[in-house]
Symmetry: C2
Subunit: 200 residues, 2 copies
């Protein structure tokens, strides 16, 4: 399995936003939608071995955790608007008391960053960080959980949680990329590493 988490610093936690304004009133949910596209889509299929995670920290009801299970997700199209429709449903159908499947393969619930990490403690964590070791110098496990910020970096507290769970800091180079581009690169980079390994 491969996991990607992208923090949503200001993602709205009430579904009353306009789908025509996801970069504005929805609290930059466009970043999350593009990250989901990069994490899950192939040319004519979805990556069934990838799960995507986000936590929305925007008003009025944070934090809302959303998980997308690549093996179970259905009917979502790759365009930002369509992906955002499903994020909106995950917010609207959020249930305070119960982790809920809001549409096939998409879940929402109340979960903090610490709780999400604890839940996946069997994974190997990698924190994308400009000051980290170059990806080519880091062995990436087959059960990787990548952690990324959005427009904002993680907080010091969140980084401390990552460190507590042994996260390795990795960098893709000196250029600062969009989160979605980092994810897209990582997917192809790891596919290529796997292909190479199977040839060697």
């Amino acid at each position: 399995m491969r996991h990607f988490y992208v923090k949503s610093t200001i993602g709205k936690t009430c579904g009353d936003f306009n789908l025509n304004d996801t970069a504005g009133g929805a609290g930059r949910l466009d970043i999350i939608a593009r990250s989901i596209n990069s994490a899950l889509w192939l040319s004519h299929s979805l990556r069934r071995d990838v799960n995507f995670h986000t936590i929305l920290f925007g008003e009025p009801n944070p934090p809302i955790y959303i998980e997308i299970v690549g093996d179970k997700v259905r009917k979502v199209q790759p365009d930002e608007r369509n992906i955002t429709i499903f994020i909106k449903k995950a917010i609207e159908r959020f249930n305070e008391g119960r982790f809920t499947q809001t549409t096939p393969g998409i879940y929402s619930g109340r979960r903090t960053f610490d709780e999400m990490i604890e839940k996946h403690k069997d994974c190997d964590f990698y924190l994308l960080s400009e000051g980290g070791a170059d990806i080519s110098d880091v062995g990436i496990s087959d059960n990787a959980f990548f952690i990324l910020g959005d427009k904002e970096d993680l907080t010091a507290e969140e980084i401390a949680v990552c460190e507590k769970y042994g996260a390795k800091k990795v960098s893709l180079g000196k250029v600062p990329y969009l989160s979605s581009h980092c994810i897209g690169f990582l997917n192809v980079y790891l596919d290529r590493a796997t292909e190479k390994k199977s040839v060697d």
Copy 2:
């Protein structure tokens, strides 16, 4: 300079489509919008050394060629909807008789695939192709012009034009990726190769 061309097999050549339906009525212009995002955006800036090209072959008035010059483009936001607003303007302000700057850094005009390639004959062409040589075995020049299909491959005639101009066929691996993901990977891959070269 780095150039990316993505063919738009059914992209509408009249701006009467609904921005809420770019994956449907607009003829998969969502693919082009995502490709533009991948080609041009960095985290807090645009790639000023990248130009993006597409030709819309959809009804009712094909072909319409659109060029986006990274060094001159202004005011465009990275979300699909905003990018599509600018593509729509490039279509609406298309002028049969004159290559036209429709908004800052974005141009449209009547140009065939052959004419576009001829216009850039000083570039080194690379045709993304599953049967091509692996990217790691191909030296990519500093004046690369990458050619990609969308949901459809190029036609035999278009491939013949590429061959006539010396295009090398390159592959990113055995997995079939979305055009936008290929572009995103190539940008980071080439940045990394440049960084490595400057260190060596």
